[in-house]
């Protein structure tokens, strides 16, 4: 009998807990300990049981287990834990005797028998699920390295899951994208997030509304160290049971739970530094003309200068500008090594009936400048109670309170980094005759660092997330789960421009002072009930029938006030502005959804499963004329390696699977009704202005996905992995269609238009290449290809960023100006373009490849054109726009070697991330220079630049080769020998070292910054800057050209368990 068959015979955890009590005369005891082969440490919460008898128990904190009342005889004892390969042993129990049986479990990337949290109660074995579900052992990740936030937790750890870097500034977050974009909205492309069964706020953009939008991702409110595991459901085929809003995937966060045993405390202290790696070399040089401010300057008049050297010298000497020197800047250099500290204390323990996990955490870190910081204090209390043989309840509570002080807080101008990299060459004092025309800014763009530091932008946040889950299980055939939960956040956003008094005012808002004060409050309420009845139908067949109902309510309420004209330079708050110069706004948005599902699963011999389900959803945002929507799904999975005819011993297991299903995305809350907002009328009267124009027919967009894949384990489990191919078609995509302004109504109306296809593949492979008692070495690999394309737009004629044949989202930094056409230029007396020196230039453009529906070639305003057409003189290339391709590199890879020595006492890993393909990532390193006047000093001597500039068709300015490999993360952990730990009064003591963003190993564009064969001469200049291949990838597809490049960090950590 296989493990799967053993498990399949109606085993449930609850029933084990309920039955593992009592003794009888013809029984014995089974006891032992479960250890991790890699670490040598004990494994808590492993399930040890005898499937044939429905008896078992969970291991305690120290890995020990005890099963009482085991009938005499020979039995199969099975141990199972998420992330580990199940192990079995034959035991013989004798009356009134104790059988001692220890286990050593080895890690396994994909366990067919692990329990996955799905929409149905009690979870489902992976072998029965027809779609791919990522199961990440978060506890192991956080143990191996310091993980600063949830974005870092997800980045590159799962194929097909992309997370922006968020930029290098502390406190900023980033989008999360699962299998790319299937919606015309980045917000709609965000996956749903559940924490212990309750749906939580998934806003990737919170904080004061500053330049370039808001900064944080609320997912980073959670403490990564409190998380036990994360399960990622990737697409509509898997997310059908979650209904409307789930088409972008679902992330299930499961926090740590208690374990039977004496209280076990774990204290952890981490200390580190955040820093910009090699700023002098990475930011490179700028150019200035010797005879400033003559721009463009002759080629032999160009002088390069190191900006970081200049800034630091200016700060140290205080000579360039008396308004900015060491007396007003608290550090000796512009950039700092920002401190980063993290303190965690948790305790877990419990009895057979009550188990608990309590934790407290405090994090503080600063970024590259002293005023950029993030601080949070978090508390968590999780309690599980076995109420009776039939009922148990799990309560999960988490609270966080913190404050983020953002860096990029200056109006539309970003922050300090933006000012540095946009520095004005002709304003630098680094000129031969010191004839600097604008000495105050020292060559910075418009502001000096002290101008920026005086402004502050803060998010204060408090958040409670709690859920109670009532589980019912009557020994296996009927299980139900009822969840009630709330996620409520109270934020305060402040953006303050104090009155400038000590130096010349250069920021409009600081002339009189200005303050923005907002109090966003979010409340997410979840009720979820589901039940599954499982029956055996003869010896081979089983059936599991599930029903469920979910109600979800989301409320967002925000009071916003803006005041100008502080009464004093000391003023900081809204009440210190005159009422006549303040304004107030109030936003209240509520959305509710209600859904029901029915699912039927039929199994055959524990190795073939067919599942069908249908979900009905209604939503308060649906138009009045729109009926509730239905989402079906079907899936099948076959563990073919367990068939009798399978005789390929090379394969430990092979499972084939396929799934097809639908899920949706709801319209905006106000999409169905006409609304008006208040505005000030003449003389203080009241007036109205259109806010939205309602569409009575608006409904959800519906995504349909087909996923085909397999899970495989070979070489006795030394290599295991999975492969998925998927294709998703999203119909009725929601798009705000512009109304003609001349109608005088709201600017747009949300409508269901168009089709977006997305497709790709994902592959993961986890290997153990060498394994012995003292050394274990393995490599984890994952890779994915993700692509999308706009296929139909209905009657909508398209826009400057949305056209048939294009990907979505467009890379964003220039919005509509994706005119990547000029690819080559040369001096030619017959050329139509005249450069600043009177020389004639002939330019050649990519004429583009037009794509109509389903690959047809058509032209028109609806149809886009991609790079790759004929190269023709630009005057013959037409006046259309060309998109450079997808907003993120379509191929993404990760390689993670793992090494364990000394029986697992010393463990090391390094994580290498890479990408391949064209991307629209915003590389300041390239296009900043194109616009900067100092760069113009050089490039005006280049025919390509002249051509591109003169005909306003910039060459490849947003079009890059995304090929790179970087060392994203390293982690080293050494666990002191137990005797040494004992001397310290502890059970376990571990020392850790970790680093992030440590090196760019290879970057294809580094040499020529992406211009490739058309590189102008400046690109070969030794002063060429080279920031980071992911620079500007603050948000996926967004032009974060004002954001910092990814920040590097080092941390030391000590973990003590006692």
């Amino acid at each position: 009998m296989t493990t799967g068959q053993l498990l399949h015979r109606g085993f449930s955890i609850a029933s084990l807990l309920a039955m593992a009590t009592g003794l009888s005369a013809q029984t014995g005891i089974v006891a032992g300990r479960v250890m991790d082969q890699a670490t040598g440490g004990p494994l808590a919460a492993a399930q040890v049981f005898i499937p044939g008898l429905n008896v078992g128990n969970l291991t305690t904190q120290d890995g020990r287990f005890l099963i009482l009342s085991v009938p005499v005889g020979t039995h199969t004892l099975l141990v199972q834990r998420i992330g580990y390969r199940p192990a079995t042993e034959e035991i013989t129990v004798q009356a009134d005797q104790t059988v001692q049986q220890n286990f050593t479990m080895s890690q396994q990337a994909l366990g067919l028998d692990e329990i996955i949290v799905t929409g149905t109660p009690g979870g489902t074995q992976r072998r029965a699920i027809g779609n791919s579900v990522v199961s990440m052992d978060a506890a192991r990740v956080t143990e191996s390295a310091v993980i600063p936030n949830m974005n870092a937790m997800l980045m590159g750890r799962s194929a097909g899951v992309l997370s922006g870097s968020g930029g290098g500034a502390i406190g900023v977050g980033a989008d999360i994208s699962i299998r790319g974009y299937g919606s015309f909205s980045r917000e709609r492309a965000q996956p749903l997030i559940y924490v212990d069964g309750v749906r939580v706020n998934n806003d990737p953009s919170v904080g004061p509304n500053m330049a370039g939008g808001r900064g944080g991702n609320v997912m980073n409110d959670f403490n990564a160290a409190d998380i036990e595991s994360i399960e990622i459901i990737k697409g509509p085929a898997a997310a059908t049971l979650y209904g409307t809003e789930a088409s972008a995937g679902v992330i299930q966060i499961i926090t740590k739970k208690g374990a039977q045993g004496a209280p076990q405390f774990t204290a952890s202290i981490a200390e580190g530094r955040n820093f910009m790696r090699g700023p002098h070399n990475r930011m490179g040089w700028m150019w200035a003309c010797k005879d400033l401010p003559r721009v463009p300057c002759a080629e032999d008049q160009v002088v390069p200068y190191s900006y970081m050297h200049l800034m630091n010298a200016a700060l140290r000497d205080g000579t360039f500008n008396p308004e900015w020197n060491y007396t007003q800047w608290p550090q000796k250099n512009v950039l700092q090594y920002g401190p980063s500290r993290s303190y965690n204390l948790n305790v877990r323990g419990g009895t057979e009936r009550i188990r608990y996990f309590l934790s407290a955490n405090h994090d503080y870190e600063e970024g590259g400048v002293y005023y950029n910081s993030d601080e949070a204090t978090r508390l968590r209390g999780n309690i599980g109670v076995v109420l009776s043989d039939l009922f148990s309840v799990d309560v999960s509570t988490g609270f966080v309170s913190g404050q983020t002080s953002y860096e990029g807080q200056v109006g539309t101008r970003g922050g300090l980094f933006d000012q540095i990299v946009w520095g004005n060459g002709y304003c630098t004092p680094y000129v031969a005759d010191q004839s600097n025309p604008c000495p105050r800014v020292l060559g910075m763009q418009q502001m000096i660092p002290t101008d920026i530091a005086k402004i502050y932008s803060i998010r204060d946040f408090d958040r409670f997330t709690g859920s109670a889950t009532l589980n019912f299980n009557n020994s296996g055939w009927l299980a139900s789960r009822s969840v009630v939960g709330i996620d409520r956040g109270w934020d305060k956003n402040e953006w303050v421009h104090p009155i400038e008094t000590t130096q010349a005012n250069v920021i409009q808002e600081t002339r009189d002072g200005k303050v923005l004060y907002e109090t966003p409050m979010n409340s997410e309420l979840t009720f979820d009930w589901s039940a599954t009845a499982s029956f055996g139908l003869g010896r081979s067949w089983t059936t599991a029938s599930s029903v469920g109902a979910q109600f979800y309510s989301r409320t967002r309420e925000m009071l916003s006030t803006v005041g100008e004209g502080f009464v004093s330079p000391l003023s900081r708050t809204i009440n210190q502005t005159p009422i006549t110069r303040s304004s107030i706004d109030y936003e209240y948005v509520q959305n509710k959804s209600l859904g029901f599902y029915v699912q039927e699963q039929i199994g055959w011999n524990g190795r073939l499963f067919l599942t069908g389900a249908v979900r009905f959803d209604d939503n308060s945002a649906f138009g009045t004329e729109f009926d509730p929507v239905l989402y079906p799904k079907f899936s099948g999975t076959w563990v073919i390696s367990e068939e009798s005819f399978w005789n390929l011993d090379f394969f430990e297991s092979l499972r084939l699977r396929s799934a097809w299903g639908k899920a949706g995305q709801q319209p905006n809350t106000f999409a169905g009704v006409n609304t008006f907002g208040a505005m000030a009328g003449p003389g203080g009267t009241s007036a109205l202005t259109p806010s939205s124009t309602g569409n009575p027919d608006v409904g959800p967009e519906v995504s349909t996905e087909l996923e085909i894949g397999f899970d495989v384990s070979v070489l006795d489990g030394r290599a295991s992995g999975e492969f998925n191919w998927y294709k998703t078609r999203s119909r009725d995509n929601l798009l705000n269609i512009n109304l003609p302004p001349s109608r005088g109504q709201a600017s747009s109306i949300q409508s269901n238009v168009g089709v977006i296809d997305k497709w790709g593949w994902e592959a993961t492979l986890s290997t153990t290449l060498y394994e012995s008692r003292t050394l274990l070495f393995g490599i984890d690999l994952n890779g994915a290809y993700t692509m999308n394309e706009i296929k139909e737009l209905g009657d909508f004629p398209g826009s400057s960023t949305i056209k048939l044949g294009w990907t979505y989202p467009p890379h964003g930094q220039f919005g509509t100006q994706e005119q990547t056409k000029v690819v080559r230029a040369e001096y030619d007396p017959k050329g139509p373009i005249v450069d600043p020196w009177g020389r004639r230039v002939q330019a050649y453009c990519d004429s583009g490849v037009f794509l109509g529906p389903e690959g047809t070639t058509r032209r028109g305003s609806q149809y886009g054109a991609n790079m790759g057409g004929q190269i023709v003189p630009c005057q013959e290339a037409g006046g259309y726009e060309i998109t450079p391709g997808i907003a993120f590199a379509p191929y993404n890879f990760s390689i993670t070697p793992n090494l364990a020595l000394a029986g697992g006492a010393l463990r090391m890993h390094a994580k290498f991330d890479g990408s391949h393909g064209r991307t629209g990532n915003d590389r300041m390193s390239l296009w900043h220079d194109r616009y900067n006047t100092s760069y113009g000093s050089v490039t005006h001597n280049d025919p390509l630049y002249s051509a591109a500039y003169r005909i306003n068709q910039f060459a490849q300015r947003a079009y890059f080769n995304g090929d790179f490999w970087k060392l994203r993360e390293v982690g080293v952990r050494y666990e002191l020998p137990t005797p040494v730990a004992s001397l310290m009064g502890a059970q376990r003591v571990a020392l850790g070292f970790s680093g992030r963003e440590l090196a760019v190993i290879w970057w294809k564009d580094k040499g020529d910054l992406g211009l490739g064969p058309v590189s102008p001469r400046a690109m070969n200049h030794p002063a060429t800057r080279a920031l980071d291949p992911e620079f500007g990838r603050g948000q996926l597809g967004d032009g974060g050209h004002r954001t910092w490049p990814p920040m590097s960090s080092f941390h030391m950590r000590i973990d003590v368990t006692f």
Binding site: V562, F596, T675, M679, S742, R743
Partner: protein, 472 residues
């Protein structure tokens, strides 16, 4: 199947669970009762005034007033953007007017809305004012998602709306508009129609209407303290020191005169707003079009003549110019964020009459303005020298209507001598590209979303010499 049926049935019976509160949003229900007529009126005026406020400060740039160094809220002024993005709030003003007119004419009775006749007249007044702005700024227009119209067609519509306004004022009897917008709706209507007819070239009509507007009358776009209704010209330029007034322009190397094809002289005529003066004989402009000035500015001394007295209508002060790293002159036309903007100014009526009547009458009319402002009277001018009289009136409009968004229309009517910096050039210092255009085009979304238009039709109805060079 039973379960499926149950699910559908449960969804159907759970509508109440999906009821949501939207307390922060007003729906159509807020505008269905006769008591909301006043809200309609407030709304149409509010949208017009907010749009006109933006329009006025944008037009200040089109009048070649100065330069922005620190690109920010004033950036578009110096960039000469070609898309008229206040088209939307102006159109919303028209929408509220259309909705209210429909209700007043078909649903609500005079008993229900006692101010019905005044409301109708107010709708017509602002409709006429809006259409006049469209017709004199844009080179092609659509109304309520209709087909493209030429400016001449819209001028006729404006004329008709204002004629209707005068009829409705006859019915309601003359009245003052709220918030000191105008003391007389009738004078306001005559003034607006005079502007329209002057621009149309209807000299007789313009003269007759202009004569109806008494000395001292103004109709205004009102502004109030606070961010929502502040005078942006004051906030963004005057107050903040973000917009430095030009001295006479002597640095242009860009395209020649688009009408004559001739290169511009070294000093562009009728440019420069700093230290403007008037000679004792009343001369305000030299024969070459360079204004008379009392002293050199920060950049040059063109036009400076000893003995000139300051022209107190064009006021400015020295300020730190943001982004320039130095000082310059900024306008003090508006002294507070609540300073109103003249929409109809009796001085313009006088100048319309002067332009139409010409000769000695023109000199006499200009002197009415000089006397009112206690400035030297014109004695230098030869009433038989038409060019001299023309220059006198152009310069007088430049000064008497300084920073009121009305000199721009003189430019449009005198394109042979008044400067339009187009494309291929930039501002003096920052070399920001002046994107080029004489008139505006509507926002891109109009061309995309209007079923009668397409993006390819953008600027297609514009006269060639007025068409934006690069209508992005």
């Amino acid at each position: 199947m039973l379960a499926l049926g149950l699910s559908v049935g449960m969804l159907g019976g759970c509508d109440k669970l999906l009821e949501v509160q939207l307390p922060a949003q007003l729906t159509d229900a807020a505008l269905t009762s006769p008591g909301s007529a006043g809200i309609y009126v407030n709304s149409l005026i509010a949208h017009f005034e907010d749009a006109y406020d933006f329009h006025a400060y944008r037009t200040f740039g089109r009048e070649d007033a100065g330069e922005v160094y620190l690109c920010g809220p004033m950036c578009n002024v110096s960039n000469y953007v070609t898309v008229y993005d206040h088209f939307t709030p102006f159109s919303r003003s028209l929408w509220f007017g259309r909705q209210l007119r429909a209700k007043l004419e078909t649903e609500w009775t005079a008993q229900q809305v006692p101010q019905r006749d005044r409301h109708l007249a107010t709708i017509s007044l602002y409709e006429g004012a809006t259409l006049a702005v469209f017709a004199t700024n844009l080179c092609e227009i659509t109304l309520d998602a209709g087909p493209l119209l030429r400016p001449e067609q819209v001028l006729d519509l404006a004329d008709a709306a204002l004629t209707r306004a005068l009829d409705e004022i006859q019915t309601s009897r003359d009245f003052a508009l709220q918030n000191n917008i105008a003391s007389s709706a009738q004078n306001m209507a005559y003034g607006l129609r005079a502007q329209v007819r002057w621009f149309k070239g209807d000299k007789a009509g313009a003269l007759a209407d202009a004569q109806q507007v008494p000395q001292g009358f103004v109709a205004r776009v009102t502004r109030d303290p606070g961010e929502a209704r502040q005078n942006r010209g004051w906030t963004s330029g005057t107050n903040g020191g973000f917009f430095e007034l030009y001295d006479p322009i002597d640095w242009w190397t860009g395209l020649p005169n688009p009408v004559t094809g001739k290169a511009w002289p070294n000093v562009i005529p009728f440019t420069g707003f700093t230290f403007l003066g008037i000679l004792p004989d009343g001369r305000a402009v030299h024969d070459d079009g360079v204004p008379v000035r009392t002293q050199a500015g920060w950049h040059n001394a063109h036009g400076v003549v000893a003995g000139a007295v300051p022209d107190t209508r064009v006021t400015h002060r020295t300020a730190q110019i943001q982004g320039k790293q130095g000082q310059g002159e900024v306008s003090t036309k508006y002294s507070a964020e609540s300073s109103p903007i003249n929409l109809v100014n009796w001085k313009e009526m006088v100048l319309i009459r002067a332009e139409i009547e010409g000769g000695q009458k023109a000199i006499d009319l200009v002197n009415e303005l000089r006397i009112a402002d206690d400035l030297p009277r014109v004695t230098y001018a030869d009433p038989n020298n038409a060019e001299q009289i023309r220059y006198m009136i152009i310069e007088e409009r430049r000064r008497a209507l300084f920073n009121e968004a009305r000199f721009f229309y003189s430019k449009l009517k005198n394109m042979d001598v008044l400067w339009f910096p187009r494309d291929n050039g930039g501002t003096r210092f920052q070399r920001r590209a002046l994107q080029g255009g004489i008139r505006y085009v509507m926002p891109n979304s109009e061309y995309i979303a209007n079923p009668n238009l397409s993006p390819a039709m953008k600027a297609s109805a514009c006269a060639q010499h007025e068409r934006p060079i690069n209508p992005l």
